[in-house]
Symmetry: C2
Subunit: 636 residues, 2 copies
């Protein structure tokens, strides 16, 4: 399909926007009137700029409050339209968006609306221009696509067509199904926007909270599918009003917009394929390689230097990890426990070294097990992911990899190549790699992100890797709010909560500043017997995060625990949560390593599926206390 | 009255909060349960901490989902209550907030509710504790104060009383009037929160958008007045859930909270006095000196150094100002035009010099004309404003002054002392001070503020100076949104729009960074003939902000102007706005002086009362272009 975006969706001046839109790969652009008004070049210059960039001007918008206006204003309004038609001809676009009248003194009489729109279509037709009529969700008399289609059908003028916008329909819980019945050539234009589901005034919701497809909660494939069925072949265009987007880096955001359209097309294609309507051509819709099945995390790679590597290695050994191998030619070691592989990379002149230079000790790569790494990489690249090939020495395995938005790597490891064979080529493996510890697998990793990049990460994982995103959870840190949104592979074998905070002094902001950017700051290991593991860790001298006794008094009030069990929980600083279905979580946190990442040991019972959100506040308070203790110590 | 605040209203750890609450002057504190749970000291230690700080623990809260709970959970819920009663006794407080049950499986049968609450009151009574029962606006069966009072009245237990919260009543547009009929001793506690009027889910509204009295839009005096009439003598307590407050500096925010209660008391006293109910004692309510009448701005004082003073002076002379005096002993000069007095202060070892050192060339003081400066200062001090007395030389007039939140000064000048006599004591005045320019008066000044400090400034001006605040306006800058809220003296002779932006690259953020903090960045002068003034200014070489021609094409489409007039507007870069009542605004902007403040020349016609909000976006776009031009120049 032709892909387009409205200039209002991006930050910057008009030339900055157009430049970013072209660079992202769009075919066309909607010129939002204010962007033109505030630009100090003529419409002809804008036309030339777009032509030079290879962008079609697919739409000029909006023209407001026309049909059904107060009768004494009609002539004046037609004059206004003619002025804008002049402008459109200078711009070189033939289509204008006319949105339904919102004025409280506008007329709702159907005959008047028909007459006014006929008149406008006639005027437009005289100049070979076209009118796309759109129902605003807050239009005074016209606010559904069905009303728009009724009017367009009744007026039946070749220069008047339907303009559809997903937000205006889905925000009112409208049903798009019957759009399939509109003849495709009577739909002049289609605008797409997603949004989180918010119980608020629809105008405010629309003006501030729209987002790109896949970043919100609307069923957009359900909106696009009937449009494809109608036979519509025009552009698919993004029109997003979002406070964050108004300040986001223009190029990166335009690239996200383009990716979001690809994602929407793929999901719509899947939907239509399931509906099995052979007469509909799926050809115009983006079709990347199908997503892989996943089987958890194969290994994590930490960027360290010699001394930090030794320290981190010691930390991990106290958590029950054992050194299982040394790289044949590089300063890279492998630690193991259960199904968990951790690589400490202190090799100079390596990707990890560059990452270390930029971020200090940090997680620089995550290897995930995929059904077919070649296909997984092809998919990632189709979604404009950046593939990575590092230096590979003799006898070293080459792994497919794609860069995550923060520059770290996601290795794609074939499931059947995982385990021992994967490491044998690169490492001298220890003869026995049994660890005394009982940690079984990586349960989840959490990342700290700058607040404005959350939507971008969600879209990256949803599109390239076909992950799902859970609902956002808001959690109190003593110094501000933390928002968390968990990404999951569909099988839930890989889980990645993303954390943001708009406040300066929260644990998330501290993680960001110690990492100098986004980064994994929290890694959770699962085990079958938490008390055994935590007892071993305590004995080994792992510093556990101290939980206030008052927390346990409250547990006593909330649950029927005997005092002995409560004492044990408190002694080991174990937190407890229970879900509505009787699932239980026992978990304990370590103090952070070098103030940057901390580990969690957890045990899930009876299918507990969450992350202990009920305990995040007490954990964040304990971390704040620990930080201020560390600051005090540092000051002494 | 006794004044109190809930710990949840502030940021930080429990000791940080208590410390700030005591320092602000509160008598008591509500302990929010989570603050206690997450604190690693015992309830007894908290009790001692409060005692040491002179704070009463006026309430423990909340106890949730009790009355009407599922019958099989009642016994467990009573156990839970007993645990919390233990805690309260350790804390040394006798009052607990029980909020109405929100559980979807809770019982609404009135007899069950009565039985449950009776039982709880009986248990509390056995320990000399008291239950304050509160209706949550989203309670499942009980969500109004009237229902609470019905239950309390019917149960008639000495240990059960009404707990009132302004948010829960006003958010549902409830009528508080009849609260006056409740016997005062049956009201156990009163919580106050303001909020902006938002059309959204009430629970979300309550959890994230409450604010201190005077910062929002609720009629809080209308809520408090009937409570005073009831004979209630307990504490007045703030309970504010606000995302910003969770991260705000704890001490400053607590001080704002205290000031907001004083303001609420004054406004309630005024309300009750107007209602003329002689039987109600207004004694407990705060009564500062009455606010002054104002008569505009007497002078503005700029902090400069020798060279910046000369540059700014030259700039102002091109705008038609003339040097009207030189200070008798200091490096301070006076410029005049019409009713406008501008002072350029380059005196070393002065307040202005310190301000210059901190902020560069900047506005360091505003002198406003007041009816009675002694009373005005007394009022400001009663509201915990910080009075200022600077160094005064021989023959210098001493002016009353109070510090604004950014450390700049607000001089309070008696109206009858203003004009020539004010300056004669300090300045050698030029014999003739006629200026060729036609600027008449200071129309308004606008400030750039850090986003999180807007509410604090609004409260400062509303309370100390009895200003009013207009509604917030949201305006697009090419690089993000700008929010603006105008403060006005009640007579509108002093107007101060406050501007914030949460985005890094907007005009407001640039102003903040060039000012290194809050500051006046925009000064508007009014005149009677804008074209004459702008023509003179243009001739004198004042650099005017260049407005794109497309803006004038749009004016042509929107208004019935002839081409000649439009050309004149465009030639002079004059912006135009018209309000619904035919009021008109003509205005023009200068380029900024040293990238930090710019001037506006404007003419109001037919009672136009706004600030040209319709033109702010084009102005911000032109400023962004001008900045990038300046950057390009600087790079060359």
């Amino acid at each position: 399909m032709k892909r387009s975006i409205a200039t209002v969706s991006l930050s910057g001046t008009l030339p900055e926007k157009l430049d970013a839109i072209a660079a992202a790969g769009f075919d066309g652009v909607e010129i939002f009137e204010n962007d033109l008004l505030y630009y100090d070049g003529s419409p002809r210059e804008v036309r030339q700029m777009c032509a030079d960039l290879g962008l079609a001007i697919s739409l000029f918008q909006p023209f407001r409050d026309f049909e059904g206006c107060r009768r004494d204003r009609l002539a004046r309004n037609l004059d206004r339209a003619e002025r804008k038609f002049d402008l459109m001809q200078e711009l070189g676009t033939d289509l204008v968006l006319v949105c339904s009248n919102t004025a409280s003194d506008s007329v709702g009489d159907w005959q008047v609306l028909r007459d006014d729109l006929s008149l406008l279509a006639e005027r437009a037709g005289a100049r070979d221009l076209r009118i796309g009529y759109e129902a605003l969700a807050w239009g005074r008399h016209v606010n559904t696509w069905q009303q728009v289609w009724d009017l367009v059908r009744q007026i039946d003028h070749p220069n008047l067509g339907v303009l559809l916008d997903s937000f205006h329909t889905l925000s009112l819980k409208g049903d798009p199904g019957a759009i399939a019945q509109i003849p495709g050539d009577k739909i002049f234009f289609v605008q797409m926007a997603d949004a989180p589901l918010l119980a608020m005034d629809v105008l405010e919701w629309s003006r501030h909270f729209r987002c790109f497809p896949g970043q919100g909660e609307f069923d957009l494939p359900g909106f696009l599918a009937p449009i494809i069925q109608s036979g519509y072949t025009g552009p698919l265009s993004l029109e997003v009003f979002n406070d964050g987007f108004r300040a986001a880096p223009t190029r990166a955001n335009a690239a996200d917009g383009f990716r979001s359209l690809l994602y929407l097309e793929e999901k719509t294609r899947e939907r239509l394929a399931r509906q099995a309507e052979p007469e509909v051509s799926l050809e115009p819709l983006f079709a990347p390689a199908a997503a892989s099945a996943y089987d958890g995390i194969e290994f994590l790679e930490f960027a360290v230097d010699e001394s930090r590597g030794a320290q981190l290695g010691h930390w991990l050994e106290r958590l029950g990890f054992r050194k299982a191998g040394q790289h044949r030619s590089k300063n890279v070691s492998l630690l193991r426990q259960g199904d968990i592989n951790l690589i400490l990379n202190a090799e100079p002149y390596s990707f990890a070294h560059n990452f270390f230079e930029a971020h200090g000790p940090s997680l620089c790569a995550t290897a995930i097990r995929v059904e077919d790494s070649t296909r997984a990489l092809a998919r990632a690249v189709a979604y404009k992911g950046q593939p990575y090939r590092g230096l590979v020495g003799p006898n070293e395995l080459e792994l497919a990899a794609v860069r995550a938005p923060d520059g770290s790597l996601i290795y794609l490891v074939d499931t059947d190549a995982s385990g021992k064979p994967l490491y044998e080529s690169d490492f001298n493996l220890a003869p026995v790699d049994a660890s005394p510890g009982g940690l079984k697998r990586i349960d989840h990793m959490a990342m700290a992100l700058p607040a404005e990049s959350l939507d971008s990460w969600v879209l990256f994982y949803k599109s390239l890797l076909d992950f799902e995103a859970d609902d956002e959870v808001v959690l109190p840190d003593p110094y501000g709010l933390v928002k968390s949104r968990a990404l999951r592979s569909r099988c839930s074998s890989i889980r990645l909560p993303l954390n943001i905070s708009e406040n300066r002094n929260t644990a998330i902001s501290h993680a960001l500043s110690s990492y100098r950017g986004s980064g994994v700051h929290h890694i959770a290991f699962e085990c079958d017997d938490l008390f055994a593991e935590v007892s071993r860790a305590k004995e080994a001298g792992v510093p556990l995060l101290d939980i206030p006794l008052n927390y346990y008094d409250d547990l006593a009030a909330r649950f029927d625990f005997d005092d002995e069990f409560l004492s044990e929980l408190a002694y080991f600083n174990v937190l407890y949560d229970r879900d509505g279905q009787g699932g239980e979580l026992f978990h304990v946190y370590t103090e952070p390593f070098e103030g940057r990442f901390f580990f969690e040991l957890l045990q899930r019972k009876n299918g507990y599926a969450g992350y202990g959100a009920a305990n995040v506040a007490v954990r964040l308070a304990a971390m704040a206390k620990s930080r201020s203790g560390a600051v005090r110590q540092a000051k002494l």
